[in-house]
């Protein structure tokens, strides 16, 4: 589905390029509505899917393209990057690509929040175009559909007078597109709004946007949409025409191993900062404990209120070579608190798996040694194995 603009720089230059504007148009919609399940019909080189995978709200991304090739599509940039393993997403994300026609009724595309058809319909022959509304609006029936297509009124501004791409079967003017869209919306109970990207140059405002876009929103019979959407997913009879060519899932905090590690790391970061202040600040011996006299709260990255809350929680202390941080103290740190939703019990259970807790399970225990001043040079005890 080649939808590139045959633009001559001399005539019109879009900033940012108009293809990018189309993708940003979709991204803005996703930001506004917080779509969870999105399908892109005619995903092409998957740039839109790639851009959408960064949205925190998105949990399920599907692409369909008639020309998706399995082997050549290692999925490259759709796969989780190394960074996704260091900072996992909050929510799961699965990306699946299918090869097949966008006008086939495949039950795996039902129940989506958003289906995008960016520069797709103008590639469809009349038969497919006729089937398109019934399949996408009638059968897939997502919460929202975005359709973009060239606005032929804009074409005279380009040097070539023909279609923008040899594979285009038609290019509609605004009236043609809007009539088609309104009919479809009416038939399948959607409301539609028209917009576009690629502003016309000064003096040619009458031609409208370079790309015209219709945003279709499903009319809801009942306002309690969320309660319906869940069971709805299971209603469909499984029909699969599409061939899955690629699938990947992302690490996320919904998976226990990533949650545990992320929480432990967050706790250790707070503990390390406390320890470093503890070691550098004044302290006093109370029984077998050494307690800090001053504040052990970091200055940076916290609001006044957050610092005050931390100050009110039980203080860390040391016994011998060990340093103890009460769980209550850790829970006062906003990032830790957010991860466990304020639950000491959850904090205790999860930390116990990766770190060491004290006897009565009320505090995390770490070594007091400050490695930055440590140095190993004990010359006569170093065996050559250690040196090299």
């Amino acid at each position: 589905m080649d939808h590139c603009e045959v633009l001559s720089k001399k005539v019109i230059e879009f900033k940012p390029p108009v293809y990018e504007q189309r993708y940003y148009f979709v991204k803005n919609l996703v930001n506004q509505h917080g779509h969870k399940k999105i399908a892109d019909l005619g995903f092409g080189d998957a740039t839109l899917l790639w851009m959408l995978k960064y949205h925190r709200c998105v949990q399920y991304l599907v692409g369909v393209d008639i020309a998706a090739k399995p082997f050549e599509w290692g999925g490259g940039r759709l796969s989780p990057g190394v960074g996704s393993y260091i900072i996992p997403r909050e929510l799961d994300l699965t990306i699946t690509l299918y090869r097949g026609s966008a006008v086939q009724k495949d039950s795996r595309l039902c129940g989506f929040d958003l289906i995008t058809c960016i520069e797709l319909i103008e590639h469809l022959d009349s038969e497919d175009l006729a089937k398109f509304p019934e399949v996408v609006f009638g059968y897939f029936s997502p919460g929202m559909v975005v359709i973009s297509t060239p606005n032929s009124e804009f074409n005279p501004l380009f040097p070539a007078s023909t279609f923008r791409d040899p594979d285009h079967r038609f290019e509609w003017n605004r009236k043609q597109f809007q009539m088609w869209a309104l009919d479809v919306a009416k038939l399948y109970h959607y409301s539609v709004e028209f917009s576009g990207v690629g502003d016309p140059p000064a003096g040619a405002e009458h031609v409208g946007y370079c790309t015209q876009i219709g945003v279709f929103q499903k009319n809801r019979a009942k306002p309690t949409e969320s309660s319906i959407s869940e069971p709805e997913e299971h209603v469909y009879e499984v029909v699969s025409f599409l061939w899955e060519v690629y699938t990947t899932s992302y690490p996320s905090l919904q998976q226990s191993k990533y949650f545990r590690f992320t929480l432990s790391i967050e706790a250790v970061k707070s503990i390390d900062l406390m320890k470093s202040r503890f070691l550098r600040g004044p302290r006093r011996k109370e029984g077998d404990r050494v307690v800090p006299l001053g504040s052990c709260t970091p200055q940076d990255g916290l609001t006044e209120a957050q610092r005050a809350e931390i100050e009110q929680s039980p203080k860390p202390y040391s016994v011998g070579e060990k340093f103890y941080v009460p769980l209550e103290r850790l829970l006062a740190y906003p990032k830790v608190n957010l991860l466990v939703a304020g639950s000491t019990e959850k904090l205790r259970t999860v930390l116990a798996e990766g770190l060491r807790l004290n006897g009565d399970q009320t505090a995390v225990q770490v070594e007091l040694v400050d490695y930055r001043t440590q140095r190993l040079f004990d010359e006569h005890l170093v065996s050559p194995a250690l040196e090299s």
């Binding site: 589905m1 940012p16 250790v268 930055r372 190993l376």
Partner: protein, 860 residues
């Protein structure tokens, strides 16, 4: 000009007109081909950057096939004459052909044969296999590499062929019908482009170019197995080992390579771990701030961060931090490629849905490697500290004993564990459909794991003064030599002990033990003068200044803490200002219950050596042989300086040593001063033996990848001219051997369905060696836990013409002679001495030690 200044200067030198070529402050994540190309080309799986780039202006579904891409492999043909991967460069240095005595056979004969398996896998090719190299020209010429690749790959004539193409040079495993093939393709703008494909070479599988192409094929295969390339290696982040206490994750993976070994093409894989710190650069900076305060915050950040490699959160790229720009804030704007201006905050929000929390953080600056040679424009990337992670361990972290123990505990793999990982990798490669298809299309067959035969060299006897002992285990013979007298020792009569006021008792107790063990080993230790001082480094130093005179034989310092400043100031003063051998020990060590005797024994032996004593020897059949060890390392503080250490034996028994060291200003690790050192050593030998040595064997350690040719052209002649000029008639015969502790082959012995480390003294001189070199592997150290790494020896120059067997055995003998360890070590003793010397200078002294100390092992 400092590196930092250079970065600045280059950044500023940008002229506005050059803005087209390499935009500076665009976050690197959005580099796009310069011209709005009508076809979209996804450079596919081979290029890390592809994960992050907006490619193409269209959504053409025909995505491009794999592309031979650069990564950091630096293949000749991808980078068009750019950097060749350094270790490939060494492989084209054919030293063996000049050595007549090993041209036909370089194998030894003594010892007991042992069956080994290696981490090598055979790669089979049809006998007549060839790689066809083509040049591709475009009319009209097309600048965009991506477009060139897309046009060629989309052409039907090539669609079903295995190919690798970088935009100019095309490799095929099947020959095209004609020598010159004309193809034409159409861009989606409708322009016709003519491509002329001309055959330029037919390469046999043994060609180094093929090696590079094979490496690219395997890189692609490992990516199919869900591994990520970081640097040169491949890792699996989905199976991390986590060490939350130290904020670390370890990603298991492999270092792989494909190359031509002695008789065939082999795939090598070794288990490797990537250490990732789960801490952003911003958090790291906050830590520094809390520790040092604001006054020297910026300097400390620069000191600790510049030169480190970071990984960004949003793409798969790594960057080196070349500078920190404190004047740029996330709220500042930068110009995107399309000309629009956007703030960093908005950019990351829009693009990646990431909200930056700290709006006052500076930006990190990284110089981007330019992919094209012709581009003179230095491109830099601005990175936000909050979105960058440190990879690897910082220097400070490596001194953290607890941390290193935790890392070692997780990464140390038994031979069996390692073998299982390898087997799984091989299995994955063989089973994966895509991997198999890729290999088959090139005509490659991934075969089985190599087994080969090594030999276990006969064990050595340890010669003491009046006793010859055959150690129970060559790994350590301290028990065997208990109550034996050491070969020779100077009596210690006039010496000092400096200790803190509090440690008098410990010192006395220790001294008692020391004198007792000394006398039993034949080392007379008289009662010293004991000086008690305050507990601070300055007090120790001033005591040295007051009490040490040239008649003092040795100074011992009992240190109350392991603060670096104690050790550094003492060693600096006594190595160069007032050269007297010195011995440091920690109070804590001397206090260790139940270990006092063994500690005293070790210290007594070190002290004997520091006075020029000899501890033990092995039989050396060659009667007039000098052995030399050379090592090179970088100065810890001054990165522009390297420390070269040179240690030569000065008696036929190889028990006395002459040690020299120099700091030289050079960026390469190549020693400049060898002629002077060699001549000094020969003079010293002559003074002791009234003749010159008949043979000199030099072991050179600390050689980096790609330096072999330089060594041959630059170092060997220095050594040779010194040896030749030393005598008017027959000069000594010279051999030069490059020692490498880090080599990828690993060997295991199979024992009752399990695998183990090979026995000590195992030599491998076939199959895993290289046809172009006179080389062998020797396992001379015991690995208590984990898998032993063999040491690789490459004889690059050899006038001596010793039989390979003798060369191997001599090398093995020399691994017994390191006086700091009563047991075998992984490299010949002279290399370990040179290493110890350079390490002391690079870490603590930062100055040339005095020549007066050259006759003793003062640095042990």
């Amino acid at each position: 000009m400092s590196g930092r200044a250079r970065v600045r200067a280059r950044g500023l030198a940008r002229s506005p007109s050059a803005a087209e070529a390499g935009r500076t402050c665009a976050p690197p994540s959005r580099s796009r081909s310069p011209s709005p190309s009508p076809t979209s080309v996804d450079t596919g799986n081979n290029e890390a950057s592809s994960t992050s780039s907006f490619v193409g202006t269209s959504r053409m579904s025909q995505s491009c096939k794999y592309v031979v891409s650069s990564g950091d492999t630096g293949c000749t043909f991808t980078e068009r004459g750019g950097k060749i991967r350094q270790d490939f460069k060494d492989l084209s240095v054919c030293t063996r052909e000049k050595l007549a005595h090993v041209r036909d056979c370089k194998r030894g004969s003594s010892g007991v044969p042992v069956k080994l398996v290696a981490n090598l896998f055979s790669l089979d090719l049809p006998l007549d296999w060839q790689l066809y190299q083509y040049h591709v020209a475009y009319v009209p010429d097309i600048e965009s590499r991506r477009l060139r690749i897309a046009l060629l790959y989309s052409h039907k004539a090539l669609s079903n062929k295995a190919k690798a193409f970088d935009g100019a040079i095309l490799f095929l495993s099947q020959k095209l019908e004609a020598k010159v093939t004309e193809l034409s393709s159409e861009t989606s703008r409708g322009n016709t482009v003519k491509m002329t494909i001309t055959l330029t070479g037919e390469l046999p599988a043994s060609s180094p170019v093929c090696t590079q192409v094979f490496s690219i094929i395997f890189r692609k295969i490992l990516k199919k197995l869900a591994m990520y390339q970081i640097g040169r290696n491949f890792y699996k982040p989905s199976e991390p080992v986590e060490i939350p206490q130290h904020k670390l994750s370890l990603w298991p993976g492999f270092a792989i390579s494909v190359s031509q070994f002695e008789s065939r093409l082999l795939f090598t894989a070794d288990v490797s771990y990537k250490v990732l710190r789960n801490e952003t650069v911003l958090e790291f900076m906050a830590g520094i701030c809390q520790e040092t305060g604001m006054s020297c915050f910026t300097q400390m950040c620069e000191k600790q961060l510049l030169g480190l490699v970071v990984l960004t959160r949003y793409n798969n790229k790594t960057y080196r931090i070349d500078d920190i720009d404190w004047s740029v804030k996330p709220t500042h704007t930068f110009r995107k490629k399309d000309g629009t201006e956007v703030t960093y905050v908005d950019y990351y929000k829009q693009q990646y849905d990431i909200t930056l929390s700290d709006l006052n953080q500076p930006v990190l600056v990284s110089l981007l490697k330019s992919k094209r040679n012709d581009s003179t424009e230095a491109r830099v990337a601005h990175l936000i500290p909050e979105l960058c992670f440190l990879t690897g361990l910082t220097r400070q972290a490596t001194t953290d004993f607890q941390l290193m123990k935790a890392v070692a505990g997780e990464t140390r793999l038994s031979p069996m564990g390692r073998q299982q990982r390898l087997a799984r990798l091989a299995d994955d490669i063989q089973r994966n459909k895509d991997a198999r298809f890729e290999l088959e299309s090139w005509g490659l067959h991934f075969g089985c794991q190599m087994s080969l035969t090594g030999r276990v060299l006969p064990s050595e006897k340890i010669l003491m003064q009046d006793h010859v002992c055959q150690p129970g285990s060559a790994a350590e013979w301290s028990k065997d030599m208990r109550n034996c007298k050491i070969l020779s020792a100077q009596s210690l009569n006039k010496w000092l002990i400096i200790c803190s006021n509090r440690d008098e008792k410990v010192t006395e107790d220790f001294l008692h033990c020391l004198r007792r063990v000394g006398s039993s080993m034949g080392f007379n230790v008289d009662y010293p003068k004991i000086i008690k001082v305050q507990e601070n480094p300055a007090a120790f130093l001033s005591a040295l200044q007051r009490h040490v005179d040239p008649n003092v034989q040795l100074v011992m310092c009992i240190l109350p803490s392991n603060q670096k400043s104690y050790y550094d100031s003492i060693k600096k003063y006594l190595s160069s200002v007032c050269p007297v051998p010195s011995q440091c020990a920690l109070t804590r060590t001397l206090n260790k219950q139940g270990m006092v005797m063994s500690i005293a024994t070790k210290i007594a032996m070190q002290m004997a050596c520091k006075l020029g004593g000899e501890l033990w020897a092995v039989e050396i059949p060659l009667k007039s042989l000098m052995v030399v060890g050379i090592d090179v390392c970088k100065d810890e503080f001054n990165k522009g300086m390297v420390v070269v250490g040179f240690v030569a034996s000065i008696n036929p028994g190889i028990t006395r040593w002459f040690s020299r060291c120099i700091l030289q200003r050079t960026t390469t690790d190549v020693a400049d001063c060898l002629k002077v050192f060699m001549t000094g050593a020969l003079n010293r030998w002559h003074r002791h033996n009234c003749s010159l040595p008949a043979r000199v064997v030099v072991y050179r350690d600390g050689v980096g990848d790609g330096q072999l040719q330089t060594l041959l052209e630059y170092e060997v002649p220095q050594l040779l001219s010194s040896v030749t000029e030393a005598s008017s008639n027959t000069s000594a015969k010279l051999s030069v051997i490059v020692v490498r502790k880090k080599c990828t082959p690993r060997f295991f012995t199979e024992m009752n369905r399990s695998v183990q480390n090979p026995p000590l003294g195992t030599v491998v001189d076939s199959e895993a060696t290289r046809p172009e070199w006179y080389d062998f592997y020797l396992i001379s150290q015991a690995a208590g836990q984990g898998t032993v790494t063999p040491t690789h020896y490459n004889v690059i120059y050899d006038d001596n013409g010793l039989k390979p067997d003798h060369m191997q055995r001599l090398t093995f003998k020399l691994c017994h002679l390191y006086y700091n360890w009563p047991g075998l070590i992984s490299i010949p003793a002279p290399c370990q001495y040179a290493h110890k010397l350079t390490f002391l200078v690079a870490q603590n002294i930062h100055k040339e030690p005095s020549l007066e100390l050259a006759n003793s092992l003062f640095y042990l």
